[in-house]
């Protein structure tokens, strides 16, 4: 589903920004070499703006590319990209004033199940296409069907499924590299002093990698799904992410990337936080 009207407005806006010298580079999508997949594109000459696309293949999260961009940049975002930008701003990874955000509604025809933020939450200019803009405060507590279905299985079945999934992993770290929340300069997976996990595809190492990856993005993940799309082996990575999104929602009433004044749930605490994890027996409860 290519909306030519939205696309021409995006191209026009990008051209104007470069012409006026407001930005040095526009980060957007261009047609990829594989049909149906658009590729990130860095445009610094105004004549190249025609190559921008905004179609079903624009599924990657472009927020990742702002992190290393030293130039003054404009970025074309959909809903989840903008939420990742909110996260990066609150985590002091990027400066809002160095960035010009062109927002447009998500162009994907098959949207992610349960996605309620198709229109960006922050932008300098929003390309209107008639999509409903949802007030972020009205977003209901998330329920993910895949998690609810999975929880109906017995512990043994759940374990067998997760073991089966992570055993597919070849540890290419594509899921980490594509994730805008994974920006550590040195990842625990590659530390050598101490070496926490081995570099092989041993099932134990794979499991620990995937569990910790999910925990490291807990309360920060915006469920853009880039990790799963990037995975060459088709590991069901979003299942773990969805579980933690639900837990963070129900325990701390929080969803990442919606407000610029957010305090991330794992950076703070309440004295009366629920503690469902406490061990039973042996004490004086």
């Amino acid at each position: 589903m290519t909306d030519t009207n939205t696309l021409s407005k995006i191209q026009e806006k990008a051209r104007r920004l470069l012409e006026d010298g407001k930005v040095e580079v526009v980060i957007g999508f261009a047609a990829g070499t594989v049909p149906g997949k658009s590729t990130p594109s860095f445009i610094s000459a105004k004549e190249d703006c025609e190559s921008l696309v905004w179609d079903n293949g624009c599924s990657l999260n472009l927020a990742k590319y702002v992190l290393k961009e030293k130039r003054k940049a404009a970025i074309i975002v959909k809903g989840c990209d903008s939420r990742s930008l909110v996260n990066l701003i609150t985590e002091n990874q990027i400066k809002r004033e160095n960035l010009y955000i062109i927002g447009a509604a998500c162009p994907l025809s098959a949207s992610c199940a349960g996605c309620q933020v198709k229109v960006p939450v922050i932008y300098d200019e929003l390309i209107e296409d008639g999509s409903e803009i949802r007030e972020v405060s009205t977003i209901a507590e998330r329920r993910y069907d895949d998690v609810l279905e999975f929880e109906k299985l017995s512990a043994e079945e759940r374990k067998a499924y997760v073991y089966g999934e992570v055993s597919k992993c070849i540890r290419c770290y594509a899921c980490r590299n594509v994730c805008p929340a994974c920006y550590c300069k040195e990842c625990f997976a590659e530390k050598s002093l101490p070496q926490w996990i081995g570099k092989t595809t041993d099932i134990g190492d794979n499991l620990i990698f995937h569990l910790i990856r999910a925990l490291h993005v807990a309360g920060r993940c915006v469920d853009c799904g880039s990790c799963q799309r990037a995975c060459p082996m088709g590991v069901n990575l979003r299942l773990l992410n969805h579980k933690l999104l639900m837990e963070v929602g129900s325990l701390y009433q929080f969803e990442a990337g919606l407000k610029e004044d957010q305090i991330l749930p794992l950076n703070t605490y309440q004295y009366d936080d629920p503690q469902p994890f406490l061990a039973k027996g042996g004490g004086h409860e």
């Binding site: 043994e156 041993d202 620990i208 569990l211 325990l251 004295y271 936080d273």
Partner: protein, 147 residues
């Protein structure tokens, strides 16, 4: 496996305990001084605060141990004011994730034990060891295949 070997295997189960220097570690010391009996299955790792315990430590410990206990100060009693309160949020998420992927809830446990609760420490280790001995063989993240 005959009955005796099975008994030995159960007695041999290792439990790693991450204990906060300011409370649970002193609680363990008090249990010793007070001559409260508890099984010798635990291996204590002294940490400066329960907030120091990264979920990664717990998962890595499970590569070579059958269970992990993490214990810190009661909420409000942290030597560093809020270390255990921040840890509490991490542990909540870790615990629900481990339950989700089908790890038995008894295998990874958390507790608050103060320096004055020697009896409680001994009682906790007694129940913990008992619970762990009743569990099946832990596959150590898939590296041990149950035969």
């Amino acid at each position: 496996m005959n009955a005796k070997d099975e008994m030995d295997a159960k007695d041999d189960r290792k439990i790693v305990a991450f204990l906060c220097n300011w409370c649970s570690y002193a609680g363990a010391d008090l249990a010793g001084i007070s001559r409260f009996q508890y099984p010798p299955n635990i291996r204590v790792v002294r940490v400066p605060c329960s907030g120091r315990v990264d979920p990664l430590f717990i998962l890595i410990a499970l590569k070579n141990a059958d269970a992990v206990l993490t214990s810190g100060c009661h909420p409000g009693d942290c030597h560093y004011t809020s270390g255990n309160l921040v840890a509490r949020r991490k542990f909540s998420l870790l615990k629900s994730l481990l339950d989700f992927v089908g790890v038995e809830p008894e295998r990874v446990q958390f507790d608050w034990i103060s320096a004055a609760e020697g009896n409680r420490f001994a009682a906790r280790i007694n129940t913990l060891t008992d619970q762990v001995s009743k569990l099946g063989v832990w596959d150590r993240w898939g590296s041990v295949v149950d035969d």
